[in-house]
C-alpha cells in the first residue's frame, strides 16, 4: 500500500479535459430552449470531473492500491464467508447474452437467461431441501424481509391476525430484528445458554399464540450447530409459528444438513457469500428465498415457471405478497453463483463445507492456548474467541484487530456476536491453504505475546497502512459527506 497523499478526483480536474467518446450526433440539432418547459433547463451544470482517460485509470488504480480484497490476502471476516471469487464467474457474467439483455424483452428472446435462473432455482432447492425458490431479493437482508412478509401473509390468510412477534436469538445478525421491524413485527429476544446455543427453556417461555416466527442462523453466529434444532422446530410449530433460516452460514453445512430437513419453513441464502458472488466492496449481493410448500402461494411475483419446455414468468398469483423489487433480482450475481455451483458439483460443494469446517477447527485449537475460548466444542465454519484476557492487560480487541493489519491480514469480525466480551469471529473458508492459516495463527500468537511484553505496539497499531487510526468521532460529530470546492 502507498502512503502518499491521495487526491480526490475533483482535485485533479481541469477545465477543457474530457474522458469520453460519445457517438456523433447524426440528427439535426435543436435548441434546448425549444424542447424544455420554462424553468426546467438546468442553469448550473453539475460539477462532475473533467479528466482524461489516463487520469481516470491512474486515479482508480491508486485507489485500488489502497484497498484490501481476497485476492490481496487473507480475509477471515466472520459471518461473511470471504472465500475465493472464481474468475470464470466474472467472464460468464459478462457474456453479451447475459450482460446485455433487457428485463422487459419478449420472453421468447431471453429463454437462455430464464433457463439459467430456473436451473439455479432447482439447484438451490436441492441444496436447501426447500420446495420452491425465488431469486427476486437483492441481498440477504432483503431476503429476510421478503420471507417474513410471506409468513405474515400466510398467517393473515389463516385469519391469524394476533401473531405480532418474531423471536430472535441474542446472538443474531442485526439484520434479523431490523427485518422483523420493517415487516411490521415486534422482536422478542431468546437467550443463549452456557453452551452457546439457544436456551430451550427460555424459548418455551417466549413462544405463544402471538408467535409469528423464530429466526435462526444454524450454525449460529458463534459457529455452533444448534443441536436441539428438532425440538426447537417442534416448540415453534406446536404454537403455530413458522421457522425461518438465515442462510448466512450455509457454507458450514452443505451436503451435511439441509434447512428443509431441519424443519425450516423459509430460508434465505447469501449468494455473494456461500456461492462466491463476489462481495464487491459491500455489494451487490443476492438473497434468494426458498420456502416450504405452505408458503408457495405467497411468493413475490412474478414466479418463474416451466411449461412444456418453455420458461415463463407467472404474474397470476392472487395471494402473492407482490413485488419486492423491480424485475427479477440481481441476475448478474445469480449467473456467477450458478457458474460456481456448476464448477463445484455435488462433490465439490460437500468438500467446500468439509474443508471450511476443518480449517476453522484447526485454527481454533491452535489459538485456544493463547486466547479465551468461551465455547469449547467443535465449531463449524467459524469460531469466536474473546480478547478478555488481553483486555485485563489494557489491550482491547480493536487494538489487536488493527495490529493484524500490519501483518497484511484483514482482521476478523470484531465485537460480534454481542454476547461475547471483546469477541473476534474468525472464518477462514475452505479456499485458504494450511500455510496461510499457519501464518495468520503465528501473527495472532505474536500479537498475544506483544500484549504481554510490549502492549504499546499493539495499542498504537496500525503502523504500516496508508493512514493510521482514523478519528471516527470527529467524522460523526462534524459530518463531511461530500467534497466541496474550496472557494
Amino acid at each position: 500500500m502507498h502512503k502518499e497523499k491521495q487526491s480526490l478526483i475533483f482535485e485533479i480536474t481541469k477545465e477543457g479535459r474530457i474522458g469520453y467518446s460519445l457517438p456523433e450526433l447524426d440528427v439535426p440539432a435543436v435548441e434546448l430552449d425549444d424542447l424544455l418547459p420554462e424553468g426546467y433547463k438546468r442553469e448550473e451544470p453539475a460539477e462532475l470531473p473533467e479528466v482524461s482517460e489516463l487520469d481516470i485509470m491512474r486515479h482508480y488504480t491508486a485507489l485500488s492500491n489502497r484497498n484490501h480484497g481476497i485476492d490481496s490476502g487473507f480475509y477471515p471476516l466472520g459471518s461473511c464467508t470471504m472465500k475465493y471469487n472464481p474468475k470464470i464467474n466474472e467472464s460468464v457474467a459478462r457474456y453479451p447474452g447475459f450482460a446485455h439483455i433487457h428485463p422487459l424483452q419478449d420472453e421468447s428472446t431471453v429463454q437462455g437467461a430464464m433457463e439459467l435462473m430456473y436451473d439455479l432455482q432447482t439447484h438451490l432447492e436441492e441444496i436447501t431441501g426447500m420446495d420452491c425458490m425465488t431469486l427476486q431479493p437483492a441481498a440477504g437482508a432483503h431476503g429476510e424481509w421478503t420471507a417474513l412478509m410471506m409468513i405474515r401473509a400466510f398467517h393473515e390468510a389463516n385469519g391469524d391476525h394476533h401473531r405480532t412477534k418474531v423471536i430472535v436469538p441474542d446472538s443474531a445478525h442485526g439484520t434479523n430484528p431490523a427485518s422483523a421491524t420493517v415487516a411490521g413485527y415486534d422482536t422478542v429476544t431468546v437467550k443463549t445458554n452456557e453452551k452457546g446455543l439457544v436456551d430451550l427453556e427460555d424459548l418455551k417461555s417466549v413462544v405463544g399464540d402471538d408467535t409469528a416466527a423464530l429466526m435462526l442462523t444454524n450454525p449460529n453466529t458463534l459457529g455452533l450447530f444448534e443441536e436441539d434444532i428438532v425440538e426447537m422446530a417442534k416448540i415453534v410449530h406446536d404454537v403455530g409459528g413458522k421457522l425461518y433460516y438465515d442462510g448466512a452460514n450455509l457454507n458450514a453445512v452443505m451436503a451435511k444438513s439441509r434447512p428443509g430437513d431441519m424443519g425450516f419453513d423459509a430460508v434465505h441464502l447469501n449468494l455473494h457469500k456461500t456461492f462466491t458472488g463476489p462481495h464487491g466492496g459491500g455489494g451487490p449481493g443476492s438473497g434468494p428465498v426458498g420456502v416450504h410448500k405452505d408458503l408457495i402461494p405467497f411468493l413475490p411475483k412474478p414466479v418463474l415457471v416451466k411449461e412444456d419446455d418453455v420458461f415463463k414468468f407467472d404474474y397470476d398469483r392472487p395471494q402473492s405478497i407482490g413485488r419486492v423489487k423491480p424485475f427479477y433480482g440481481n441476475f448478474g450475481i445469480n449467473v456467477r453463483a450458478y457458474t460456481y455451483i456448476r464448477s463445484m458439483g455435488p462433490d465439490g460443494l460437500k468438500a467446500a463445507t468439509e474443508y471450511a469446517v476443518l480449517n476453522a477447527n484447526y485454527m481454533m485449537r491452535k489459538l485456544e492456548p493463547h486466547f479465551e475460548l468461551p465455547y469449547k466444542q467443535h465449531c463449524k465454519h467459524e469460531f469466536v474467541i474473546s480478547g478478555s484476557r488481553q483486555k485485563k492487560l489494557g489491550v482491547r480487541t480493536l487494538d489487536m484487530a488493527k495490529r493484524l493489519l500490519d501483518f497484511g491480514f484483514h482482521p476478523p469480525t470484531v465485537y460480534f456476536p454481542l454476547n461475547v466480551e471483546e469477541g473476534m469471529m474468525i472464518e477462514p473458508t475452505e479456499t485458504e491453504s494450511k500455510e496461510t492459516l499457519d501464518s495468520f495463527i503465528d501473527a495472532m500468537i505474536q500479537i498475544a505475546k506483544e500484549v504481554e511484553e510490549d502492549p504499546e505496539v499493539v495499542q498504537t497499531a496500525p503502523h504500516t497502512t496508508v493512514v493510521s487510526r482514523l478519528d471516527e468521532t470527529r467524522a460523526a460529530r462534524k459530518p463531511v459527506l461530500r467534497y466541496t470546492k474550496e472557494s
Binding site: 462532475l48 453479451p96 428485463p103 415486534d186 450447530f225 493489519l405 459527506l481
Partner: protein
C-alpha cells in the same frame, strides 16, 4: 477429491485432524442430530471443467437476443447507453470486487474514497445536500423513501403518481404493507400527474408525495408545482429521477424535493436482465440522520492526514437492531463504483452532451413517427421516451421488428388497459439516425401489412 479452489492436500488434512484431536472430518459434524443429517450427495449436476462449462454457458447465453446484436428501443426504466470501456476495467480490479464492506477503514481507503466521490457526484447531479452510498435499485430506493417519510412525519398515507414506473409502484406497495402504510395512486391525465387530483387527495395524513422525473412515459412534469402542493400540507416531496436526464434538467434539489432517489443504471451499467443496478438516495440536510444505508464521511487520522470512514452508523441495523428504520446491509457498492467511473469519464461536459443527444434523438424519432401518420401522445416535453399509438397490437409489430434485428418498445397495454396498441419507445444516444429511420419505416410497413390483411 481435488478441486482448483481447495488447496488442502492429504498431508495437510492429516496434520490438521491430529492437531484438532479427531480421527476424521465426520467427527466435526457430530453435533448435527442423526434425524436431520443429510446422507449421500446432492442430486445436482456433476461438476464440469472450466472449458466445458464456459462452452455450455456461452451457448446458453447465445440463446438470448442481446442489445449488442439488436438495435434496442426498449427502455421503461432500463436503458442501453454508452458504457465507457474503462468502467469494466476499473471494476475488474480485484482489490475492489473481492473486498467487502469497509469495516476496517485503514485497509479500505480506496473503496471508502470511491464511495465518498460517488456521494459527491450524486449530490451534484440531484442538487441535494447528502447522498448515501447506494441502495439496491431505483424501485427499492423509492420504497425506502416512502418509509422514511412515513416514519419522519408519523403519518400513514403515501400518494404516488400513476406516472411512476409501475414496478416501482408495486414495490412501494409491498414495503408499505409491512409498515401498515396506505398507498394511494394519483391518477394521470395526458401522460402526466393530474395536479387537480393531487390537490384533492392531499391532506394532513399524507406523509409524502412520490413522483417521477422524467416520468414513466418519458414526459417532464411540473415538478415544482407538485412540490409546493406537498409542502403546503407539510408532507415530504420525493422525486425519482433518471440521473442522466439531470445533466440538462433542473435538479430535484432546486424544485423542492426533500428526497431524491433513482437508479444510476444509465451511467455505465449493463441492463443485465434487470440487475444488479444501482439505486441512489439523496436528502436535504434536515433528513441526514434519517437516511437509510451506509454513509462515508471524511475525517483525519492520528497524524492529521485526510481519510474516510463509514459514519453516522447509529442509524443502521447492526447498531439499532429492532429500532432501525431500514434493514439494508449489503448494498450495490461495486455498481456504485461503476457508475462513478462512468460519471467521471463523461464528466461535466459529457453528461450534458449525452443527455442532450437523448432528448434530440427522441425528438427526431417523434417527428419521424408523426410524418408516417402515427399519433405520438407525448405532447409535453419529453426526455428519451415517447408513447406511440401503433394502431395494431404492439406484440405483432415487435415480432416483425425483431426479425429485422430491432428490439421494439415496451407494450404499454400490458400494464395500462386503455393504452392497448401503444408502445413506449426509448431512443438513447446509442441509436443511429439509420436505426431510428429503420424503426419507423418497418413499423409503418408492418402496420400497413396488417391493415391490408384485416381489410
Amino acid at each position: 477429491m481435488k478441486h482448483r479452489y481447495i488447496p488442502m492436500t492429504e498431508t495437510d488434512r492429516k496434520e490438521m485432524l491430529e492437531t484438532i484431536g479427531v480421527s476424521s472430518v465426520d467427527e466435526l459434524f457430530e453435533a448435527i442430530p442423526e434425524a436431520v443429517r443429510f446422507k449421500g450427495d446432492y442430486n445436482i449436476k456433476k461438476a464440469k471443467s472450466e472449458s466445458a462449462l464456459t462452452k455450455e454457458l456461452m451457448q446458453l447465453a447465445a440463446k438470448n437476443a442481446d442489445t449488442t446484436r439488436y438495435a434496442s428501443f426498449l427502455g421503461a426504466g432500463v436503458y442501453d447507453h454508452y458504457k465507457p470501456i474503462i468502467v469494466d476495467h476499473v471494476i475488474s480490479r480485484s482489490e475492489f470486487y473481492t473486498a467487502y464492506t469497509p469495516y476496517q477503514p485503514e485497509f479500505s481507503q480506496g473503496e471508502l474514497q470511491a464511495i465518498f466521490e460517488f456521494q459527491t457526484m450524486i449530490c451534484e447531479l440531484t442538487g441535494m445536500d447528502i447522498s448515501n452510498s447506494s441502495m439496491y435499485d431505483g424501485g427499492t430506493s423509492l420504497a425506502e423513501a416512502a418509509m422514511l417519510a412515513a416514519g419522519h412525519t408519523k403519518r400513514k398515507k403515501i400518494l404516488i403518481s400513476e406516472t411512476v414506473h409501475p414496478e416501482a409502484i408495486d414495490t412501494v406497495k409491498t414495503y408499505a404493507k409491512g409498515q401498515s402504510v396506505e398507498v394511494v395512486t394519483i391518477p394521470r391525465k395526458d401522460g402526466v400527474t393530474d395536479i387537480e387530483k393531487l390537490e384533492s387527495l392531499m391532506d394532513d395524513s399524507t406523509a409524502a408525495v412520490l413522483v417521477q422525473y422524467p416520468n414513466f412515459f418519458g414526459q417532464i412534469e411540473d415538478i415544482e408545482k407538485m412540490g409546493e402542493i406537498t409542502h403546503a400540507a407539510k408532507g415530504l416531496f420525493v422525486v425519482s429521477s433518471n440521473p442522466l436526464a439531470l445533466g440538462i434538467l433542473t435538479p430535484p434539489g432546486k424544485l423542492g424535493a426533500d428526497i431524491a432517489v433513482g437508479d444510476a443504471q444509465p451511467f455505465g451499467v449493463p441492463e443485465a436482465f434487470g440487475g444488479p443496478h444501482i439505486g441512489y438516495f439523496a436528502v436535504t440536510k434536515k433528513l441526514m440522520r434519517k437516511l437509510p444505508g451506509r454513509l462515508v464521511g471524511e475525517t483525519v487520522d492520528e497524524d492529521g492526514k485526510r481519510g474516510y470512514v463509514l459514519t453516522l452508523q447509529a442509524r443502521e441495523q447492526h447498531i439499532r437492531r429492532d429500532k432501525a428504520t431500514s434493514n439494508i446491509c449489503s448494498n450495490q457498492a461495486l455498481i456504485a463504483l461503476a457508475a462513478s467511473v462512468a460519471m467521471t469519464g463523461l464528466g461535466k461536459v459529457g453528461t450534458q452532451e449525452m443527455a442532450y443527444q437523448n432528448i434530440v434523438k427522441t425528438r427526431y424519432a417523434k417527428e419521424a413517427f408523426e410524418k408516417e401518420g402515427f399519433n405520438v401522445l407525448s405532447n409535453q416535453a419529453h426526455f428519451n421516451e415517447i408513447v406511440v399509438d401503433l394502431k395494431v397490437p404492439v406484440k405483432e409489430v415487435n415480432d416483425y421488428l425483431f426479425e429485422r434485428e430491432i428490439i421494439g418498445g415496451y407494450d404499454l397495454g400490458l400494464k395500462f388497459g386503455e393504452l392497448k396498441n401503444h408502445a413506449l419507445i426509448a431512443v438513447t444516444e446509442q441509436r443511429t439516425k439509420e436505426e431510428i429511420d429503420a424503426l419507423v419505416e418497418y413499423t409503418a410497413l408492418c402496420v400497413q401489412e396488417m391493415e391490408a390483411l384485416n381489410a
